[in-house]
Symmetry: C2
Subunit: 351 residues, 2 copies
Amino acid sequence: MGRRALWNSCISCHGRTALRSGNLAGKAVVVLASGAALAHLLLAARTSDPLPSWNEGAAKQAILKFVADVTAPDSPSFVPANQRIATFDNDGTLWVEQPMYTEMAFSIARARSLASSHPEWRNRQPFKAAIEGDRNGLADAGERGAVELLLATHSGLTSEDFATAVTSWIAHAEHPRFHRLYTRCVYQPMLEVISYLQANEFKTYIVSGGTLEFMRPWVERTYGIPPEQTIGSSIQTEFQSLDARPVLMQLPRLEFVDDKAGKPVAIGKFIGRRPIASFGNSDGDQQMLEWTAAGTGSHLMLVVHHTDQQREYAYDRNSPVGTLDKLLTEAEAKAWIVVNMKLDWKTIFPI
Amino acid sequence: MGRRALWNSCISCHGRTALRSGNLAGKAVVVLASGAALAHLLLAARTSDPLPSWNEGAAKQAILKFVADVTAPDSPSFVPANQRIATFDNDGTLWVEQPMYTEMAFSIARARSLASSHPEWRNRQPFKAAIEGDRNGLADAGERGAVELLLATHSGLTSEDFATAVTSWIAHAEHPRFHRLYTRCVYQPMLEVISYLQANEFKTYIVSGGTLEFMRPWVERTYGIPPEQTIGSSIQTEFQSLDARPVLMQLPRLEFVDDKAGKPVAIGKFIGRRPIASFGNSDGDQQMLEWTAAGTGSHLMLVVHHTDQQREYAYDRNSPVGTLDKLLTEAEAKAWIVVNMKLDWKTIFPI
């Protein structure tokens, strides 16, 4: 995040202050507002482009125009700050999802680390394949096997212990191709969009098919999005007493799948307001973008299209991971923003 | 809310600015911080007591001391702002819950307004009792009848249409004893606690047994707590297409009951951080307070004890609504704050 994020945070705070001070009489507030305005003028002169990792083009211009429109009080497109909700898919939209979802890589690593206390896994799929690093075996196990592996590696411990396991793994695990931490395989241009929206008083949310149990330990540091604004699929938990201490125990049951039609349902349940901006990259995000598009005021729908085999990956309609087929057709038909990663992004990852 | 809330908001924003500016070099930020500091000094001189509707006493002092401790950077009890989560029960903690939960009054009113299109309800309980205003009949229907009435009156329409129905009802419905809008039957001392915590960079949440569908349309205006920080029981919703428009349809199924052990589970799911302050009034809040108390850092647990028959109601262990029995025993044993409404509160409702 660094200086830009701090700069944006300051603008964000100034924006809120100015908004509230508008309702307050008294010279003290004028002092506050003018002090803040001066500070931001000075800072803004140093960093004028909020999206420096974006090449000039239709996508960048559409984002800038949308934010300018909804934040200008005299614009017919103005949206009050408390209704500026933006939702981001995670896998493939904010960070790399190839060659497999990072949460799956975590599940496999965790299955291996638990293998010695589960001798029965050695001859049972998908565990055998996970332990042996047999990618074909894992592929054969299919979605059902993936869910079984996920549940077995995400349950039987408290929410706090699970968070510790995630934190410990993600501090060291590296992407197999880029040889950098997974949390550094995030898209710099999208970090800039998050910061830019936050600076303009948007409340930014992650709405991911990944579990919230897996994401929440690291999202705040990685994206500047707090755990309570991170929505995902979820494991069922139960309030229990363990050694006379209350705990939330994670059970081997999937409670909710936050994908496809589940995304607008989760948005309704967790946020209770319709987003005015949504960002996705695969068919799992289609309904979230449709829900956003059906709002009555201004709205922005953006699809990240992975077109850069050299710097990242190129895939869409036929990819088993992150399939972008129906959504691409709809986005093109409805003139939603489709980001061509190769052309629109100056850089992919943070330096 | 008025001036106090605005004042508090300003402090809150200043607090965030100061915190962030600590990481930024440059004179511009010093200008910002000093302008804000001056503004707040001037404002603070005008309103020095953040809890003016509380009588002096142990409860008020405990709240003030807790907030001072967790916000003083040099205190061993200091808690960083992003971990300052406070959770409030709603019924009986923030507003009146006698002689019946307000959501039940809404359900009865809605059953009556829907009766003409449901002729089958005229001879079927609990609908017959609701339509006829037969309180004994409703009582006989018990909890099962209450849930049936709730589901029948909360489903079969979109989330937007339901929000409109709630907004329309709550704009006019009055409490049978106090003859004021339900949204004016809120506790002024608790509004002050919410504002005071917000001013000190707490993120305030409602965690209620009532449904989030019923609460979200009015909580922001009433408590200054946004819908996305309002957690409750929930109706199952489904993403559907209605007249070629995507909608969230409310189904006649209870998805989650946010009561007793459900409260810490919901806190885990919606917030993902443990509260450091929790406020309740009945046995339904016991586990939420236990979960808060089990945190490792500073924490505050407060129980509102309804002891004021004259200005409000007096009830506890034997009340069918808002039973306060096990929680009262535990709170007394563990020296949690028990507010004696009659003695601790100067005023009950906003003027």
